[in-house]
Every structure is written in C-alpha cells, then in structure tokens.
C-alpha cells in the first residue's frame, strides 16, 4: 500500500465552553480558551489516503480530486469561520483539536472513493496535533 498526504491550512476561531458547567468551572477547566469572544488558530491539516497505485495512471488517487474534496468539505465549511457558531456539527461539542479532527474524518471518509482515508492529522499550533485513524489502527 502507498500513502499519499495532502496538506492544507485554514484559519478559524473557537471558544471552549460547556454550558453544563458554571462560569467559574468553565474558567478553571478551559482557562484562556474560555474567553467569551473566542480566539483563533492557523490550523494545518494533513490528510493521508492509502491504496495501491492504479496500473494505468500510476496514482493512488487523483490529487486534483482530493484537492476539490478538501476545498468543498473543509475549506468552505471551516476557513475563516467561528467554529462554535458556524459549523453545525460542532454546535453541541467543545471544538477541541480532538473533536475537529474526528469531524474532519467523518466528513472526508465517505467522499474518498479511490484509496481509503487512513489518517487525519490536525495541527492546532506548532506544538500540538491530533491524529485520527477512524476505526482503523495506526
């Protein structure tokens, strides 16, 4: 199997706040990330697709197609958005790197027809990233 990785970047705002907790608990648990007005990151997303190279094209999948899927499913949805308010799937979740990576997996996995999504790596900052492997093993 060959793995192909494509990287994109998007900028988005978020806020960590759980309405089930008191204001004080929210501040204690989420710290600065609880700021009511939100804050943002330049996210870097690496999407890896695994498969066998097609004997005719020599490619696992058409990268142009992957680029379009990422544009439609991720950039249009998340780039320059406030994730809590503008991404309905995250409305009742804390938009942590873990939850965003899981959502990205769920959005992309069914759209990739050639090859198979094997890993979603989402960098929130240069010192923090989350890998999602769906139900597979790393």
């Amino acid at each position: 199997m060959v793995h192909v990785t494509r990287k994109i970047e998007f900028s988005a705002a978020h806020r960590y706040h759980n309405p089930a907790f008191s204001a004080e608990e929210n501040r204690r648990i989420f710290g600065k990330c609880n700021n009511p007005n939100g804050h943002g990151h330049n996210y870097v997303l690496e999407v890896t697709v695994g498969g066998e190279a097609d004997p005719l094209t020599g490619m696992v999948l058409d990268l142009k197609e992957l680029k379009e899927i990422l544009e439609r499913e991720i950039m249009d949805r998340m780039d320059h958005r406030f994730l809590n308010y503008e991404v309905p799937e995250l409305a009742d979740q804390i938009p942590t790197c873990e939850n965003i990576a899981s959502l990205i997996w769920k959005l992309l996995a069914p759209k990739i027809k050639k090859g198979r999504l094997t890993r979603v790596r989402l960098w929130e900052s240069p010192d923090l990233y989350v890998d999602c492997y769906g139900d597979g093993t790393p």
Partner: protein, 142 residues
C-alpha cells in the same frame, strides 16, 4: 474513533557519549566528536503521544495542563539545561545516546494518569530523530 494527541516540548541539554566498556581509543573511534571529554549539547524536541477516550464534557483526551505539568515535572525540570551524564541519575552508568534518552523519557511518562502513553519521538537535531513505543503489551520497560 482512534485518536492520538501529540504535544511537542523543547529541551536543551548536554551529553557525552563514552562507554566504560571500551578503552579511550575505541570510544573515540565509535563515538567520534561526541566523545569530546567536555561534552556538547543539543536542542532536543520531545514529542509525547497519548491516546484515550475523548471526555465529552471537555472534548479532550487529556487536559493539556495536566500533561504539560507532568512532563515539566518528570522531564523538563530534571533534563533541561543539564549535563545528562552527571545530572541525571539514570545516565551515570548508561550512555546518554538519544536512543537511551528516548527510552528513559518513555519510562518516566508511561504512568501519566491522564491518558495512555503511545510513543515518544525525540529529535536530537532537525536531522536525527528517534522513536520508542515501549515493548509489547504486558512487558515492563523499567
């Protein structure tokens, strides 16, 4: 969903590669410049990867403050700006190659109570890195 969270930490330390199992000439032949008696240093990057269930109330596998605090206590405080050969007990009789440092860091973090440690990746420089994910399940590492 299988999720792994990785955090990167910076750490500056010096070491000298020298083994009591070899004589002077052999040490110099094996370790080259790294055998310099006065030691030398690196800006290490420690990547710590953990896994676990996401707590729905926080959206997190592990609270970053807990992980940062644990790594600070177990790794950064004892290793940062230290001469590993002398200042870290574990390396008084073990050559502090980056392989051995990587395994030592794994052993020190594997009991992190907030999530399950998956692996340590240690960058010695931008060009060399080492990974250790422990022995097979059930084996003791230390």
């Amino acid at each position: 969903m299988r999720l792994e969270l990785t955090r990167r930490y910076a750490l500056a330390a010096s070491h000298r590669l020298h083994s009591p199992h070899f004589d002077e000439a052999e040490n110099e032949r094996i370790y080259g410049k790294c055998n310099n008696p006065y030691g030398h240093g690196h800006n290490y990057i420690v990547e710590v990867t953990v896994t676990g269930k996401v707590d729905p109330s926080t959206g997190m596998i592990a609270h970053l403050d807990d992980l940062d605090g644990y790594v600070a206590r177990e790794i950064i405080e004892p290793f940062d700006h230290m001469y590993l050969n002398k200042d870290v007990e574990a390396f008084r009789d073990r050559v502090p190659t980056t392989e051995n440092v990587c395994v030592e860091i794994f052993a020190r973090l594997r009991r992190f109570p907030g999530a399950k440690l998956v692996r340590i990746r240690l960058e010695e420089t931008g060009r060399n890195s080492f990974e250790y994910a422990g022995q097979r399940d059930g084996d003791e590492d230390d």
